[in-house]
Symmetry: C3
Subunit: 472 residues, 3 copies
């Protein structure tokens, strides 16, 4: 059994193939964008106007979320801390470089080249977040080879969906609720559906946390919590739109956090707090405000969204996840359906309400900037009027609020369909026998893929002591 | 005994009540400020001039300090890592949303509304820091219900004090030495005086650290250390004032750190280093430079302040804290009186000296910007002269240096009086029997409020092994 | 034996002496620079143009790398977590304040004063990074007294070398490959050569990691990884140069990371991953892109450099380090020669190639900004032409690409010679018997220099259990 999970040939071979492809594509297609190309600077360029200074702070914040935040959060298993943190590192690193190419072809391609700047990296980080969320559904049950395969398929499927929705459906989704959270969630559920392991429904001896792994995981939560406003606002319009996105995310997270504590104590048999709630449910507000994060929803609405998202997420963990595992063959290891799916649907619904309620009275002429598809189309005299009030306003599609709302609904449905189908397909590929998939017994155990320090054995030993010597 | 500390009803009830109040107040009173309101943008608005870009970087840095820095620092007890980190998370989250309202009414209220922008969040974070410092005095001896009660009382008392001093006394206190550190310290001491537990004066078996908790706590120290310059400079004038604030904080922390190492080794029986010194005393310099942090005190003075603050703090831990616990019924768990009180008094004194020594010769006309209350009052012809040199200089109160110094003294005394009285009062409320206060025996133990992972029992077991098998 | 390693007198005495010297020098020589001096602000000063806002974000990012990143990374030994993290804290803090003075005299000295701003702190952080890299060569085998002595000698030697090369050789080295990484590496090797401990060549019982120390160390790696783009770009030209520096560093790190995973699995006997590779080899790409990081090398070249640097680094750890320890008396504890030396030489070579290939066709007139020494000298009419295209272009030395390449070679050789000689000399001073050097037996053990929590003994005990009770 151990032989079949050796990474010796499989991982290097796959990495080599991917690197050769990436190098070839980089060599042929990738060049600098106008903010990074020395030749395009001239005597009217002000270096401090470089897009770098607008984008890099948000990029750096999201980097911390992806590598440190996710990394620590996923290290919550007692015997799978290396796996959680290190496979997150590997998967994220690969996903970003792959997304630079895939999104590049769809979004940053002109004159026969992908034009690269920090803004592409920000977009690639979001694509990477999609993969890492999906990863949460199969944490502890997949080899790094499988994860790389998953990333190499999920990124292009995501890039196509993103491009189709951005180009043809055209939606408002500043915080990425629809495109990031819903896509990631249903893709991950699709994968885990295919990789169903019946024997794990009865629990696994190693599916437990430790005192230190729980603390580490809370640290991950805190890093995600702190920088989530940057995540939700990185791609909004600059100025007041971004300002609101930061306020709403902060407020939503705050109300969601204290609600999570209350629910955790209320539904615990002994009136104690459960660490898994604090690690996950506290974050629900960040997703729930996403789809309307840049709109004039008012601070109290952001607060209420945080409470609602948190509540849905909490009961999802409590009732829906076990149900899905037993009845629907969907083993959602980290409960991504609760933290990203349920909250995502609430968020998308709230976004639609916000769109329907948006009026010029509330937004002023900025309405046509925040809801850019409602701006009058090219050639419409009304556009010229508006451009006097908002210099540089882009022509839109002249949609009404109702039309835009329908497009939002369409986007939700298309995203769920595309991601679930993509996830099922990807799950099938991940089942190929040569991808070093761990046996049921070896799940949630670092031993399988890592050279372990000698105290690891004694950590397992501790459990025996604890069980035999103490009646907890 | 266990029953009485169940959070099952108490915590959810309290959170529900607080949330209903907050939602009602948000709904009625909170709207966006001019930088976050879409309607107030017009064709002369440059999005990149939005206040967001001035305030958000400092906000994000302080967020890391509050959630990750404090969270890790307070997790130093061996059996209270969850409590330290997670109650900090809960208390901070609630304190900020509550402070947005309380400070909002006093500082950001006009046209019948509290106007919300990131700048309010920065102010609310400072109010939150006040609560977390006070929390340090009672760490491990209070339930989360008590902590929420403490925060809900401390925030309005702080907001009133802050408003009274800012509006009527008008002081120079860029780093918040007087308003934040002194207030937090004496409030916390007031609370802990009322919550006095005589039996804990002889030590508690669980009042110990572990190898991992000590490392975690140092990580907290490092995050606080790294971002302290942002804390001390977040609310200064922009430009050279903020630049000096960052330089002085960095220098003060640096000299304080190496001094702490020297004193730790010198006063240790076996010439070894004590982790508690490295976790706490190293930070003294950051407080000590606070009151004069934006003034032209010269780099060497910042260096000397760091050394002085560190020395006072060190001896406070060594001699004063034990004395206060035994003789004055003040059990200051984390030694906040050393790190925030003694250093705060030194800092306030240094600030007064810097005020008395400030001349136009050193500052140029900027004198009247840094010391804004010394600027000539509205209508004074000297004001017009100065406004030619510093466009946009606000009229002041025409105070002399000596007058300003006296106001500083008054502010120190009022702050100490208000905070101590507020702390005593709050302590009395926190004594209500239904707030799930832990018994003496259950202090410093996560078991009381958390569902524990199974290895927690074996961690306690380890102690037995260590004690019996090894002569350390 | 224990007596001779007591810090009781030695550490405080040394700190006192250093502080007196620093205070004296600060008092006499250090003042504010024009961005921090209140008197130099006038009615044409725009506070938001203060250099603070250009430099502080990068300063803060590098702070996280130095204190948290290095601190965690160096805490990888099972029994030396305090030492790794805390001695890093002490050494870094002292090194920066000392570098402010030493670099101050060479780079920021005019009108009889060192002029201090955040830009000096950024430079001092780089000097500090030099010391911390060298520290890696002797981790676990030196007392804090020895480390302070090392820092107090290395900083001035570095400052002189930096000054000589910057002023007389004049090179392109935006990421600090030559001046930081090569200097630090060969200085460290010089020190460890002198401090050779033959008995440690056969391994040391405590030279091991633990499950938690490995995770902590990976966290350090992640913080370094995330903020490395800020490190490599902090001192480039603003605008497109800095933009490219960030892109290249990110790409180089990415390709280096996935390559490290592949090599780790390929060369492991059982096809598993080795944590030491993930902690160190993943970072090789950040160094390798350094010397050409701001040039128009194309994204694919940055990718290839990451792969090359990683490969060299990996085989260095595997074959070269053991060879150097056994045959050359160079015990390189953390393998700095692999992560900073080999990669540095590859990087310097790549930089030279990039210089030789740079043409106006690729760079446009910006060529003379990026390669500032190739700009025409003062008085050359070509300079005036260029200044029309690039306002504010500084006159250069009129060097050809070939000339510049030769100067780069000279700088590499001089840096290696100066650092190796400096390291040998410093090593001799560090051998002085009164510097509390640990005995061979006491290496890699926190017990020697710290008051330990009681569970530390049981952590050692665990090893016995693990060895006796489990056959791993």
């Amino acid at each position: 059994m151990k032989k079949s999970s050796s990474l010796k040939i499989r991982l290097p071979t796959l990495v080599l193939v991917l690197e050769v492809i990436i190098i070839a594509l980089y060599a042929v297609f990738v060049t600098y964008d106008e903010n990074a190309d020395a030749k395009l600077q001239n005597n009217e360029t002000n270096p401090m106007d470089n897009s770098l200074y607008r984008d890099y702070p948000y990029f750096a914040d999201v980097q911390v979320m992806i590598f440190v935040g996710f990394g620590c959060l996923l290290a919550f298993f007692r015997f799978y801390g290396f796996g959680g943190m290190v496979f997150n590192f590997l998967t994220a690193t690969f996903a970003i470089q792959w997304a630079i190419l895939m999104q590049g072809f769809f979004q940053f391609y002109y004159d026969g080249k992908i034009h690269l700047g920090v803004i592409n990296l920000v977009n690639a980080e979001f694509a990477c977040a999609v993969v890492l969320i999906s990863f949460g559904a199969v944490l502890g049950k997949t080899s790094p080879v499988q994860l790389l395969v998953m990333a190499s398929l999920e990124i292009p499927i995501f890039a196509v969906t993103e491009w189709a929705i951005t180009k043809y459906i055209r939606i408002n989704d500043a915080g990425g609720t629809i495109l990031i959270h819903l896509f990631a969630c249903y893709f991950g559920l699709g994968v885990t559906f295919v990789l169903y392991r019946p024997s794990l429904n009865d629990g696994h001896a190693k599916e437990i946390t430790s005192y230190h792994s729980d603390i580490l995981s809370v640290m991950g939560t805190l890093f995600l919590w702190v920088f989530w406003p940057s995540f939700n606002s990185a791609l909004t319009f600059k100025g007041d739109d971004q300002h609101r996105a930061i306020l709403h995310t902060f407020i939503g997270l705050s109300s969601s956090t204290i609600t999570a504590f209350a629910l955790s104590a209320l539904f615990n048999k002994r009136g104690k707090l459960t660490m898994a709630d604090i690690q996950n449910v506290t974050l629900a507000g960040g997703v729930t405000v996403g789809a309307s994060v840049d709109m004039m929803i008012s601070p109290v609405a952001a607060y209420a969204l945080g409470v609602m998202g948190c509540t849905a997420c909490f009961f999802g963990y409590k009732y829906l996840s076990p149900f899905m595992a037993r009845r629907m063959r969907i083993q959602d290891q980290c409960g991504i359906h609760n933290l990203h799916g349920l909250t995502g649907i609430i968020s998308a619904t709230a976004g639609i309400c916000a769109i329907l309620l948006a009026t010029e009275e509330t937004y002023g002429p900025s309405l046509y900037q925040t809801f850019s598809h409602r701006a009058p189309p090219e050639g419409d005299p009304q556009l010229l009027e508006l451009q006097k009030l908002i210099p540089g306003l882009n022509p839109g599609l002249g949609r009404t609020a109702q039309e835009q709302a329908l497009y939002q609904v369409a986007a939700v449905l298309i995203t769920i369909a595309a991601s679930a189908a993509g996830g099922l397909l990807t799950g099938l590929v991940m089942k190929f026998p040569s991808l070093a998939s761990p046996s049921d017994e070896d799940c949630f155990d670092d031993e399988l893929f890592f050279d372990m320090p000698s105290d690891f054995a004694s950590i397992e030993l501790l459990k025996v002591y604890a069980v035999t010597a103490v009646s907890c």
